[in-house]
Structure formats: structure tokens, C-alpha cells
């Protein structure tokens, strides 16, 4: 058993070193191949019980985790906020302790409050994986973005990646900033000042006020989803104007000095933060991101369960 790669939990990319992040990405490589097989299953987590505890609606992330768990042969239970004791007012810590009393091994948690995953990890013995906590981090999304970038650029050192959109409310942005900077990439953010958090430049990122400047600078754009409620909360005047001023469009990309890789964590608002011809265009890697999500989550589950990268390199078949 080697628990040296990761600690007990994965709550974010901020606490990880560049070497730890690289180890996860390296471990994900052989797991990509598992999903391409006729029989998409390895026995790595056979006998492990995993609870997917989702306090917020999620389709993509929950399904991606569930596939990752099942392809590693784990037994999984999905707990949704609706119809469970969560909606009866039970506290997070009580819910977790009750689950743990049923002898589980891991909890994958999605929660609306920043810090919820860390809170849980500090109070139960099972491994905790953060599947998105409030506006804090979404580490497996950050990792799958890194894996996708690495697929295209091989080396991330010096690569210029700009995160475009609602950085203020985005856990994806924070995990990307930590992951990219730890691997030596240059990171910028771009969006209306109302949607950029205070002192963001102190995290070592460049701030662009205009998408055109970001496009001149970047090798890759990671375009964030704009939540529709940001308009009623007074952060932007209208979605239409947002698209006019900050939307990633083919017209704008045509003025770029080079081809820019386009990423989006989904789900997209086509015609708002990203135009359809960009999302569906030749430089979009939005679907490969989704594919990589399963591999990265398999790697994280596997490493937290005490697996070693060397063993994974053999496809995890030789249990």
C-alpha cells in the first residue's frame, strides 16, 4: 500500500505539489485505455464501497465519477439532496457519520458551501473527494483540464492559458489556477471586473479586461459557464451584452496570431459565453475533456485507495 502520493482526501489542487499533480496525470494515462476496451472494467477497487453524496444538482460530474467507480469495480451508492435526510435538515456531519456507520470507504461530495469537502474529510475516516465545493475548488475538473492540455501541448511549462468569464463564482477557475501554476504554465483571467475576485492577481495570474487582449496572448482558452442568475444579482446587465463584450466568438478568434485551443467545463450556454461554431469548431476539445474526466477520476480514486502508479501502468489488471 502506498498512500504517499496523496493524503487521505482530495479537497483541492492548492494543497498539492506539482509532483503530486503530475503523478495523478501519469496514473490517468493507462486508465484512458480501460475506457476504450470492450470490457471496460478492472478490479482495482473491488470490494470498496463509495458514496456519491451530491448536495447540488449535477449530471456530468456525478455520471463521470460513477463510471470511474464502476470501471474500477467499486460498489457505489448515489445520495441526492432531494428525497434523503439531507432535505429533512440533517447536518452534513450527521449525514456523513451515518453513512460511515454503514462502513464505507470513500465519499465523493458535491456541496454548495465552500470548504464542505474539507469539513467532511476532517470528521470522518473515509477518503473524501471533492466533486466541487461552493466557489472554492473542483479539483478533478482542474485535473481533467490539465490532462487535456497535456494531450495537446505535451509540456505545460510556459504554456499560456486564459480563463474567461465568471471567475468570481467559479471553483473550476480556482482549481485551474492552482494546477496550471504548479505545473509551470502562465495563467490569465479575463472577464468583467464585477466577476473577477478581489486580489486575484496576487495568486500570480495576469488580468485582462478585454477578450481581444486575452486572445492575442493565449495558447488556450478555458471558457467558464455564465450562470443565468448573475444577471438578476446585478453582476452584468444582460446575457446579450455579455456575449457582445465577453463572448468567445469565431470573429474574435480569427484575429488571433495562432490557433487557440478551446476548453469549457460544461454545461455550455451556447450564444452566451461561447458561440456554437467555436464550441463545435476544429480547435475545441470540449468532448475530449469529458472523456479525460473519467480517466482522471479513476486515477484519483485509485491513488486514494492506496494504489501505486506503477501498478496502474499495467492497466490495473493484475490484482
Amino acid at each position: 500500500m502506498s498512500t504517499a502520493i496523496l493524503g487521505k482526501d482530495l479537497v483541492g489542487l492548492e494543497p498539492l505539489s506539482g509532483d503530486q499533480i503530475r503523478a495523478i496525470l501519469d496514473t490517468a494515462e493507462p486508465f484512458k485505455e480501460v475506457s476504450e476496451r470492450q470490457i471496460k472494467k478492472v478490479p482495482a477497487l473491488r470490494g470498496k464501497t463509495i458514496v456519491n453524496l451530491f448536495y447540488e444538482a449535477s449530471t456530468r460530474t456525478r455520471i463521470s465519477f460513477e463510471f470511474a467507480e464502476k470501471r474500477l469495480s467499486a460498489d457505489t451508492v448515489n445520495v441526492q439532496a432531494a428525497g434523503s435526510s439531507i432535505s429533512k435538515g440533517e447536518t452534513l456531519v450527521d449525514t456523513a457519520r451515518n453513512l460511515e456507520a454503514m462502513r464505507i470507504d470513500m465519499v465523493v461530495i458535491r456541496h454548495g458551501a465552500s470548504g464542505a469537502a474539507q469539513f467532511l474529510g476532517a470528521r470522518i475516516q473515509s477518503n473524501v473527494i471533492n466533486a466541487g465545493d461552493g466557489k472554492h475548488e473542483h479539483p478533478t475538473q482542474g485535473l481533467l483540464d490539465l490532462l487535456t492540455l497535456r494531450d495537446h501541448f505535451t509540456n505545460l511549462a510556459g504554456l499560456k492559458v486564459c480563463i474567461v468569464g465568471d471567475v468570481l463564482h467559479s471553483r473550476v477557475a480556482r482549481s485551474n489556477i492552482w494546477g496550471l501554476t504548479k505545473l509551470g504554465a502562465q495563467v490569465a483571467v479575463c472577464g468583467p471586473a464585477t466577476l473577477l475576485p478581489r486580489d486575484i492577481a496576487e495568486l500570480g495570474v495576469t488580468v485582462f479586461r478585454h477578450v481581444a487582449e486575452a486572445i492575442q496572448w493565449a495558447d488556450a482558452l478555458n471558457v467558464l459557464r455564465l450562470q443565468l442568475e448573475r444577471m438578476t444579482a446585478g453582476f452584468i446587465p444582460s446575457l446579450r451584452e455579455y456575449n457582445r463584450v465577453f463572448g468567445v466568438t469565431n470573429e474574435r478568434l480569427a484575429r488571433a496570431p495562432k490557433d487557440i485551443l478551446i476548453m469549457h467545463p460544461g454545461p455550455m450556454n451556447r450564444g452566451v459565453e461561447i458561440d456554437s461554431d467555436v464550441a463545435d469548431g476544429p480547435h475545441s476539445v470540449i468532448l475530449p475533456q469529458v472523456t479525460n474526466g473519467v480517466a482522471v477520476r479513476m486515477a484519483v480514486l485509485y491513488l486514494l485507495a492506496g494504489g501505486s502508479p506503477d501498478w496502474a501502468a499495467g492497466g490495473g489488471d493484475t490484482a
Binding site: 454548495g112 470548504g115 486575484i200
Partner: protein, 429 residues
């Protein structure tokens, strides 16, 4: 009542500019004499204060005692017990209980409960507005008649400038301060901690310093308009300090307090989502903390008030977004002031006692705050040097929500006397 002779301590009394070794004689609820070699009257109890500080009892103009309504967190009796254990002989109880203290009957309830406890003096604060709803003035006159010493909608700011104006005007008839919680609500809306680099990293919604400063500026302007006495609660930013400094230079009737957590901690303390670092106003930046310390030294900030805010264990054992604001402070305030303000040489002991006793008594027209003969016999005797480990389970308060659990702090109260009676004595004495 038997006389009490406190013998051989270092007497620190800013109202007499007194800092020297001597005796203090208390009789019939009053200070009778301070000086050297006071003889022991017949039947007097003698407290040997050799090596200890003898000062007028501490007064806290800002505590939450939770009764009525939340007796699981604190009662007036347990709050008063916590106060005397921390050296406080008088505490002003904020009215944001359930129901709120917005009428003479409710004020009378708080006062009677305080008297029944027979520990620290408990002074009720009445609401500014009926139901703390920020609409209609509460009956200041009747509340003062029942024992209220100030009015405040603390917990909420008085957002309406019209209401604040009328409160500052109307309060002048009764000679009481209007204590305001300074927070521009729309600007602070939904905020969980100070807005800055730490909130950005943690992904928590921030409260900008401007939310406090805008409200402070408005209150100062209204103090100038009305000539009323505005007391600014729990100041936390360097900008607020600057605004108060200018208001005082203009001679306005503006007084202000800051809390031990604001001169001790910064927003970094929220790392790891520690809910005992969640308070409102939030912990700010190192520059703010420095400005607060400096302002306590130079008198821009008049007094130290704890904002003692008891919460049940379960309530703080939550996600940061869902945890309530505030920490308890009565039993750690003196020690933190000694460590953070006196030990580095920012404040002399004389100035510290001014900020924690003489000034609150003078500015809020409360008994005590002095050891002059004829003053009420409210006295604290403490050992400034001895250290102790904060053990929240040993607090007299009903609640345990402190960020200083396990820390070693200097300074321990040996005796607290109210009305010439020993109401607290350290264990083993």
C-alpha cells in the same frame, strides 16, 4: 457588610493618574480610601495583593447574553459569571435577544435577572427601533426609566439615515449614546468573511472594508448634523479609524470601540474554514489590525469591548457559510490585551485600564471605572505575569466558541469585587 482591605497591590487608576503600590479600602459598597499604610478596620477582610494589579473593575459596553430566547447558549447569570471571571464588573447587554429588548418591560426583565445573579452589574441596552425592524423609534424614555443605558439595533445596522438621525436627536433628552453596528447591508450582502486575498482563495463571499466605512462616515455626518452621541460598535478597518480620527479632530460626539479579536487576529485565521474565525465585522488584514492597535493606543478608539457572542457547539460545527457569526470574549479579553497591547509597549497598564474601565464608565455614564473615594466598590485584582492555558471547557460561559482554545495567555484575574463583595475568586485562593 464587612469592609475589605486590598493590601499591597500595584494600584492602576487612570482617573487619578495613579500607578503605584498601595492599599485600597472598600466599605459599604464604596471605595473609602486609596493610599499607603491604610490601617485594617475592625472585622475587615484582607486581600493580599502583593505583586498583583489592583484596578477599577473592567466594563464591557458590548456583550450578548442571549437571554431571553437562547438560554442554551448563555443566560444573564452565566454571562455575568463569565464576566466576573474575566475581571468585568459591568457589562452592557445588547438587545438582539428573542424577543428583542424594545420596551420597558423587557428592559426591566434583563435588569432584574442581572440583579438576581448578583455578579457583574448587567446594564440593559434597548433597541433603537421597535422589533429592530429599522422603522419606528422604540420608547427610549420608558426604557431608560427601566434601566437602559444606551440604545442599539446591534446585529443589524440602522440602515435608514432618517431613523438614525431621529434616534441621535431624540436620545439627547435622555443623555444616552446610540450605538450603531456599521454595515452597509446591500454592499455586505451574503458576505462570510473579509473580502481580500483569503476570501478569493477560499471561495467565500467577501465583505469589503467599504461596507463598514460607508456606514461609519454616514454616522459621523449625522452626529455632526444632530449633535448627538453616536457610539460606533466593533470597529475593524483602518479606514474607519481614519474617519473617527478626523471626526474627533472636529470635536464631534463620536465614540468607538474595538474587540480583542480585531486587535489580535487577521483574515488568515479563516484558513481551513475555521468557524471560530467567523465574525461580523469580519477579521481583516494585518494593516487593519495595526491601525486598530495604534488607535487604541492614541485614543482614537475609546474602549475595548468584547462583542461576547455565545453560540452552541453544534451551530459552529457546520459549513462556514452556515455557521453563525461571533465568538465569546469575556474570559480572554484582559489576557489578550496584555499580550497584544501592553507587552509590546503600545499601551501602558494605565492606558489599558482607561480603555477597559474608565472610558466606558465615563462615556456611557456608568458607575465605577475609578478608585476615587466615593466611587462604587467595583474592583479587579489580577496577576499580569502568570500564564494559563485556555481551556474552553472550564469557561464560566455556557458556550465554548473561542479561537484561542489551547493557547497559553498571560494574566489571570485573582479577585473580582462588585459593590465591595468578592464575586469571583480564582481557584486555589
Amino acid at each position: 457588610m464587612k469592609p475589605v482591605l486590598i493590601r499591597g497591590g500595584r494600584i492602576v487608576d487612570p482617573t487619578q493618574k495613579l500607578d503605584g503600590v498601595g492599599d485600597v479600602l472598600l466599605q459599604d459598597g464604596k471605595v473609602v480610601a486609596t493610599g499607603q499604610g491604610i490601617g485594617r478596620p475592625d472585622g475587615a477582610t484582607v486581600l493580599d495583593a502583593t505583586g498583583l494589579i489592583v484596578a477599577p473593575g473592567l466594563i464591557d459596553v458590548h456583550v450578548h447574553l442571549r437571554e431571553p430566547g437562547h438560554e442554551d447558549r448563555e443566560t444573564i447569570a452565566t454571562g455575568a459569571a463569565s464576566a466576573v471571571a474575566g475581571g468585568f464588573t459591568g457589562v452592557c447587554a445588547m438587545p438582539n435577544t428573542d424577543p428583542v429588548i424594545d420596551n420597558q418591560g423587557a428592559v426591566g426583565f434583563v435588569k432584574a435577572k442581572g440583579e438576581a445573579a448578583g455578579l457583574a452589574r448587567v446594564y440593559p441596552i434597548g433597541c433603537v427601533s421597535v422589533g429592530q425592524r429599522g422603522e419606528q423609534l422604540a420608547e427610549f424614555g420608558e426604557m431608560v426609566g427601566a434601566g437602559a443605558v444606551a440604545v442599539s439595533d446591534d446585529g443589524h445596522p440602522v440602515m435608514s439615515s432618517h431613523l438614525m438621525r431621529t434616534a441621535l436627536e431624540y436620545a439627547q433628552t435622555f443623555g444616552i449614546p446610540v450605538a450603531d453596528h456599521c454595515e452597509d447591508m446591500p454592499l455586505a450582502h451574503g458576505g462570510q468573511m473579509h473580502e481580500g486575498l483569503v476570501s478569493t482563495r477560499l471561495g467565500l463571499k467577501g465583505i469589503p472594508s467599504a461596507a463598514e466605512e460607508i456606514h461609519v462616515a454616514r454616522d459621523i455626518i449625522l452626529a455632526e448634523l444632530t449633535g448627538g452621541h453616536v457610539h460606533l460598535c466593533h470597529m475593524s478597518t483602518r479606514g474607519s479609524v481614519e474617519l473617527i480620527r478626523r471626526a474627533k479632530e472636529k470635536g464631534l460626539r463620536v465614540t468607538a470601540e474595538s474587540a480583542p479579536h480585531h486587535f489580535t487576529l487577521t483574515h488568515d485565521r479563516c484558513e481551513g474554514y475555521d468557524t471560530n474565525a467567523k465574525m461580523n465585522p469580519p477579521l481583516r488584514e494585518a494593516e487593519d489590525r495595526q491601525a486598530i492597535r495604534q488607535a487604541l493606543a492614541d485614543g482614537t478608539l475609546d474602549c475595548i469591548a468584547t462583542d461576547h457572542a455565545p453560540h452552541h457547539y453544534d451551530a459552529k460545527e457546520r459549513e462556514f457559510d452556515d455557521a453563525p457569526n461571533g465568538i465569546i470574549g469575556l474570559e480572554t479579553a484582559l489576557s489578550l490585551a496584555l499580550r497584544e497591547l501592553v507587552a509590546p509597549g503600545l499601551l501602558s497598564l494605565l492606558t489599558l485600564i482607561e480603555r477597559m474601565s474608565a472610558a466606558p464608565a465615563r462615556l456611557w455614564h456608568l458607575p465605577g471605572g475609578s478608585l476615587r473615594p466615593g466611587t462604587v466598590a467595583d474592583v479587579v485584582v489580577f496577576d499580569p505575569a502568570v500564564t494559563w492555558t485556555v481551556n474552553p471547557a472550564a469557561f464560566r460561559s455556557k458556550s465554548r466558541n473561542t479561537p484561542w482554545g489551547g493557547e497559553v495567555l498571560p494574566g489571570r484575574v485573582r479577585w473580582t469585587l462588585v459593590d465591595g463583595r468578592v464575586v469571583y475568586q480564582a481557584a486555589g485562593q
